[in-house]
């Protein structure tokens, strides 16, 4: 039997080779993911002890970092969720005109600003306020400044997810309510919002998960601290910041602790993401 290596056979082999190559690409991408998850789990688990979770960073633990992250995302959520959702409502309900288009454009632009630039902005903002004498100059490294930075990141993100959530509600639902003579604001409040509430909550939770992992803006606003939370006008610690500090520290013990902190951080972010998905499922079960 002669082996015909003619053009057709060559094309078929090439076809198979390209399919394998494409699959290989997927493998190459998954490799680092697997490695990160593996290393974080193994090395992180080794570092986590009860004292690790209860001592502040000054004593080698991450208790104050966890507290700091919770404080920061709590305050940021308090500020950013209402503003973001309201912006999303505006865009979805009233934003079909030119002004709406412009606002949407700016929201999109702001989601793409590098987070470190946002950090610089928050710092500079407070700095200029300090120079103008309105606030104390010390405030540049404080919880408030950090919250300003994180909110600036979170608001456009939540605005976008909220707009998408609101768009899920069909026009006919809105029209049906309006046709019953209910005023516009009530339609939004009582009909539209509740029907996409779970999607809104999901968007909000995802936004929180995202800012929980931000480090760069915190370097220049929160400053990090070896102790627990002392005040809104004081520097504050946070998990991602702590991971960074421990990682670049010359002390090996600190390096090991960095893995523990990163594991806690990833678990926290994962938890929030899972919670956001559970919200959707809860809602659909209730129906």
């Amino acid at each position: 039997m002669t082996f015909r290596f003619d053009r057709d056979t060559r094309r078929r082999w090439f076809d198979v080779a390209m399919s394998v190559a494409a699959l290989a690409c997927v493998g190459i991408a998954i490799l680092p993911l697997g490695s990160i998850l593996f290393e974080a789990s193994v090395r992180g688990a080794q570092a986590i002890t009860p004292s690790f979770l209860t001592l502040p960073a000054g004593s080698g633990g991450i208790a104050n970092s966890i507290q700091g992250t919770l404080v920061l995302i709590g305050l940021t959520g308090l500020v950013a969720l209402p503003v973001g959702i309201l912006t999303g409502i505006y865009l979805a309900e009233f934003g079909r005109n030119r002004i709406g288009g412009a606002v949407r454009f700016f929201v999109d632009v702001m989601t793409q600003i590098p987070s470190i630039v946002v950090g610089i902005f928050a710092y500079s903002f407070i700095l200029e306020l300090g120079i103008a004498g309105i606030v104390s100059r010390r405030l540049v490294f404080s919880t408030i400044t950090a919250v300003i930075a994180l909110s600036t990141i979170m608001i456009p993100f939540v605005a976008r997810t909220s707009e998408e959530a609101l768009r899920l509600v069909t026009t006919s639902t809105r029209e049906a309510a309006l046709a019953l003579g209910i005023p516009r604001y009530k339609v939004i409040l009582r009909v539209v919002l509740p029907s996409c509430a779970s999607a809104l909550v999901t968007g909000g939770l995802l936004g929180i998960a995202r800012v929980a992992g931000e480090t760069a803006p915190l370097i220049m606003t929160a400053f990090a601290s070896p102790d627990f939370f002392t005040g809104l006008d004081q520097p504050i610690d946070a998990l991602p910041l702590r991971v960074f500090r421990f990682a670049i520290s010359p002390s090996l013990a600190d390096n090991r602790a960095a893995w523990g902190a990163s594991l806690i951080l990833v678990v926290m972010m994962l938890g929030i993401s899972i919670a956001s998905r559970a919200v959707i499922r809860l809602r659909s079960v209730k129906r």
Binding site: R7, D8, R11, R12
Partner: protein, 253 residues
């Protein structure tokens, strides 16, 4: 009926979309160098049948085929699909030229796939195909314009030229004129008439008059079965089956 040999012989062909049976136990002979038409109401399976003839049906996920289709001596289901499709070309319902390629490149696409690089041979092939598709005069000065810049009727003729360029033995046409206006339709029907010198043509159409105009033999399908096959004129004037007669006289479909 068989003065000429059967170019395509369909034997006990059935095809499914997932679990849904679309055509069942089809047996058909299609003459060489002739135009065969397939007519029937929507959903009768004529498109499915023609797509089985160049193994396009199986590209749909979860599609399945059973039976044999003989092209001359070979069962196309035992040959590599790629070579089958080179010998049996297809023109689709909605013109689908490659919009990122020029008219020239569209026609030459199939040839280049088969490794043809020689510029002179490509030029000659493009010229010949565009002439056979009755498009040459209209585009000869703008061969490098985008394939998508033509009108609907011209695009379809471009697709015909593209299919002809690889010199298939059979040309399948799946309702080629249904998206076109009457003038464009007429131009294509004229060129179909010329094609049968060199090719075997199978045309699916929902337009009975079109079948009457271009096809020598016509098959009538209904609900996945071939009800009747015959010389076109006889099928239309003296149908043997009552179903055929009902369709022809417009009682349904």
């Amino acid at each position: 009926m068989t003065i000429l040999a059967a170019k395509i012989r369909v034997e006990k062909l059935s095809a499914w979309y997932g679990s849904k049976l679309a055509i069942e136990d089809i047996n058909l002979e299609l003459e060489e160098h002739a135009v065969s038409g397939i007519i029937g109401p929507s959903g009768c399976g004529k498109s499915t049948l023609i797509r089985c003839l160049n193994r396009m049906h199986e590209t749909i996920p979860k599609a399945r085929v059973e039976g044999k289709v003989h092209l001359d001596q070979d069962d196309i289901y035992e040959l590599p699909a790629v070579s089958v499709r080179r010998r049996i070309g297809m023109v689709f319902q909605k013109p689908n030229p490659f919009p990122t390629m020029s008219i020239y490149d569209n026609v030459a696409a199939g040839l280049r796939l088969n490794g043809e690089r020689d510029r002179d041979r490509l030029d000659a092939a493009v010229l010949a195909s565009l002439k056979q598709a009755a498009l040459w005069d209209e585009v000869k000065d703008s061969l490098d314009k985008s394939g998508a810049s033509l009108s609907g009727g011209q695009q379809q003729r471009l697709c015909i030229a593209r299919a002809l360029a690889v010199k298939p033995e059979v040309v399948l046409m799946d309702e080629p004129c249904s998206a076109l206006d009457p003038i464009a339709t007429a131009k294509i029907e004229d060129l179909i008439f010329d094609l049968k010198k060199d090719y075997t043509v199978v045309i699916v159409t929902h337009n009975m008059q079109q079948a009457a105009r271009v096809a020598e033999t016509t098959a009538f399908m209904y609900l996945g079965h071939v009800i009747e096959v015959g010389v076109t004129r006889e099928l239309f004037e003296r149908p043997k089956e009552t179903l055929t007669e009902s369709y022809i006289t417009g009682r349904f479909g």
